[in-house]
């Protein structure tokens, strides 16, 4: 049973964690409804892992309060552990145990009834049956992720917290992994998944963007793009290679980046951006058009505008 009948799977306010002088997570508020798949995004070292660890009771927050599945994250970490499946960023199952032995160990720790049946079923659902005797340490990256997902869903949790589950996994395995996430979500699980991949972010119902410990944006992908206040012009054609150097650092062009063969020039001041492009002399072999910024444009914009705490504090 849940702690309360609240509609929010995660409801935290002012979550803060410092390591020494470094504020890794700074007053983060998250209100996440049950049953959704949320993406947790942000650059490396932005506090994603620390936030997830605080949510599932592995780290004690220095400040802030809230609930996870209705349980107090400060006091009820045991109940949270019982109902949350947490998948660590680094593979953390026992490499010298076989797939089956790992799952049986987890089943025993959670005191699952009908252990053999649960393990058999999980193996079958995740396509691991034929490899069940293989040692976990000898598995490739994609299979390790499958095993980890199998193990952290074994106790039938209400919520999954997956910390960069698809980092370093090939596209096919990544797609299979997301199919599994959506299958679990369809069964009513709430899923919080951190990632660096923009295409994965677009598979989520909502995303939370955190940079250097600060929550920068939260909401649906489209809303975040619309609210970013960012304008993007795209240049295509044989002449764009020289264009990049000319645009970079100019007034109005806050970001200049390639996406495939096209150059994206973005800024938050539309007039300045237009003027810059109009005044650019050589237009041979370049065609310009304005488009909605994509998620990556918006994220890099958010990242640049956020204050890099880690750099600032290290310098102080």
């Amino acid at each position: 049973m849940d702690g309360t009948s609240s509609d929010l799977a995660i409801d935290v306010r002012g979550l803060t964690k410092t390591f020494g002088k470094l504020t890794v997570v700074n007053k983060v508020d998250i209100q996440m409804p049950r049953g959704q798949v949320w993406g947790f995004l942000g650059p490396n070292g932005s506090g994603k892992t620390t936030t997830i660890r605080m949510l599932c009771g592995l780290l004690k927050p220095d400040a802030g309060e809230g609930t996870c599945l209705g349980y107090d994250i400060l006091k009820d970490s045991r109940e949270i552990k019982n109902q949350v499946g947490y998948m660590t960023q680094k593979f953390s199952y026992w490499e010298d145990l076989s797939i089956r032995e790992n799952l049986e160990f987890v089943a025993n720790l959670y005191e699952l009834k009908d252990k053999k049946k649960v393990v058999d079923q999980t193996l079958a659902t995740l396509g691991l049956t034929s490899r069940q005797r293989q040692l976990a340490g000898t598995l490739s990256g994609g299979w390790k992720q499958r095993l980890a997902l199998a193990a952290c869903t074994l106790h039938n949790p209400k919520m999954l917290m997956l910390d960069e589950p698809t980092a370093g996994v090939d596209p096919q395995a990544r797609r299979d992994f997301w199919d599994q996430i959506h299958r679990l979500s369809a069964q009513g699980l709430t899923v919080l998944v951190s990632t660096h991949y923009m295409d994965e972010a677009e598979r989520c119902d909502q995303i939370v963007y955190i940079a250097y410990g600060n929550l920068m944006a939260q909401g649906r992908v489209q809303d975040i793009i619309d609210q970013s206040g960012l304008y993007t012009f795209i240049a295509e054609g044989p002449g764009v290679r020289e264009l990049m150097e000319r645009m970079r650092g100019k007034d109005g062009a806050e970001q200049v980046a390639y996406f495939g063969n096209a150059l994206h020039v973005s800024g938050s001041d539309l007039d300045k951006l237009k003027k810059l492009i109009d005044n650019d002399g050589d237009k041979t072999g370049v065609t310009w058009r304005q488009e909605r910024p994509n998620l990556e444009d918006v994220f890099i914009h958010l990242m640049d505008t956020s204050v890099d705490n880690s750099v600032q504090q290290a310098g102080a």
Partner: protein
């Protein structure tokens, strides 16, 4: 050629930087020579003096008193008291409180002056042959020279002959002075210390190093559940090791086993628990398996040196003995040797059991306090 040296220099520089970062290894490099120098230079003495000695005097003449004074002046024997009941003396020798009991029989002085060469009985605790041997070797000379001053005038001729008395030495518990009798039971303690601490600390640290710990903590396992679950298998390992050593001691080295197996089992059990608690504590401090290994040696070396395994405990100065009393090995050695060689009972061993219990309580508390159910 020059560029090869530049690359060598680049690697050398990198090694120095890494050496400086790894505080534990750096500490080991400095501390190991310091500790070894202190132990070997100041603490260890293979010619132990000031051995506690008990007197049982049935004759208390001037001559006997000067004989006793002579023994004390030799600096080998420290007279710690006199008993009136020889049974008490035997009990004290058995519990290890004293190293020697010297018995002067009734009529000693009279017989000596008559030239009947009376017997002076010296009972030595020879369970550690090396601790007693020097003092025993010196005793004839000490007695002769101290009597020389008393036997003057009309008694002077007694000095001309060989010693006017007959010195009888009983090497109790190990009459032939076989060093295996002392070393083999002691080895049991050394082997258990080494493997129990190392295996536990490494097994636990491995989980941290490989990231398993984060996983374990995310699942509903309480700290004490993890602790007990991880330690119990190694208690089994310790029991198997004990079996091997005891069988070898009995059948190969023919070490006598006089005392109660149950008392020894109690001692072994407590000792294993004490070492596992140390190993567990180390595992909560060390971050890598390498560090756990280093900490094990850091504990193991002084244990070995100061416990009385390698060198006689009584040969060490007071401060070294005080440090030695901390180590579980010191007390375990006394238990295993006393039970096997002397047949000591529980009452005599209680003196060694309670320090073990205190050690276990302290080590367990530290381990539990240090073990975190979070990753902080």
């Amino acid at each position: 050629m020059l560029s090869a040296w530049r690359r060598v220099f680049a690697i050398l520089l990198k090694e120095f930087i890494q050496m400086r970062r790894d505080r534990m290894t750096f500490g080991m490099m400095i501390m190991v020579p310091v500790i070894q120098l202190t132990l070997f230079g100041f603490a260890i003495n293979s010619d132990p003096r000031h051995l506690p000695t008990l007197l049982y005097l049935e004759d208390n003449s001037t001559e006997v008193r000067s004989l006793v004074a002579g023994l004390e002046n030799s600096s080998y024997f420290d007279i710690v008291g006199q008993v009136t009941d020889p049974n008490i003396a035997t009990a004290k020798l058995q519990s290890g409180d004293v190293a020697f009991v010297i018995t002067v029989p009734a009529g000693f002085t009279r017989d000596m002056l008559r030239g009947d060469k009376p017997e002076l009985l010296i009972e030595a605790d020879a369970s550690d042959p090396s601790a007693a041997s020097n003092a025993v070797g010196q005793i004839g000379q000490i007695v002769t020279s101290s009597l020389k001053q008393d036997l003057k005038g009309e008694w002077a001729p007694l000095n001309a002959t060989d010693p006017p008395i007959n010195i009888v030495v009983h090497r109790n518990y190990n009459p032939e002075g076989i060093s295996q009798y002392n070393i083999v039971p002691g080895l049991l303690g050394v082997i258990l210390t080494m493997t129990m601490i190392m295996i536990t600390s490494i097994a636990m640290t491995r989980e941290t190093e490989r990231g398993n710990m984060e996983n374990l903590l995310a699942m509903p396992a309480r700290p004490w559940e993890v602790m007990v679950g991880k330690i119990v298998p190694y208690v089994g390992v310790g029991i198997i090791q004990t079996g091997i050593v005891l069988l070898a001691a009995y059948y190969i080295f023919q070490v006598p086993f006089i005392g109660s197996p149950w008392l020894l089992a109690l001692g072994v059990g407590l000792f294993i628990i004490a070492n596992l608690a140390v190993g567990f504590t180390f595992s909560t401090i060390a971050r890598t398996q390498m560090q756990a290994m280093q900490m094990t040696f850091f504990f193991f070396l002084p244990s070995l040196m100061l416990s009385g395994f390698m060198f006689p405990f009584r040969g060490m100065p007071g401060w070294a003995q005080a440090i030695g009393q901390i180590f579980p090995l010191t007390h375990f050695l006394r238990i295993v040797r006393s039970v096997m060689l002397k047949g000591s009972d529980f009452a005599a061993m209680w003196l060694q059991i309670w320090p073990l219990l205190i050690f276990i309580a302290v080590a367990m508390t530290v381990a539990m306090l240090r073990y975190r159910s979070t990753l902080d």
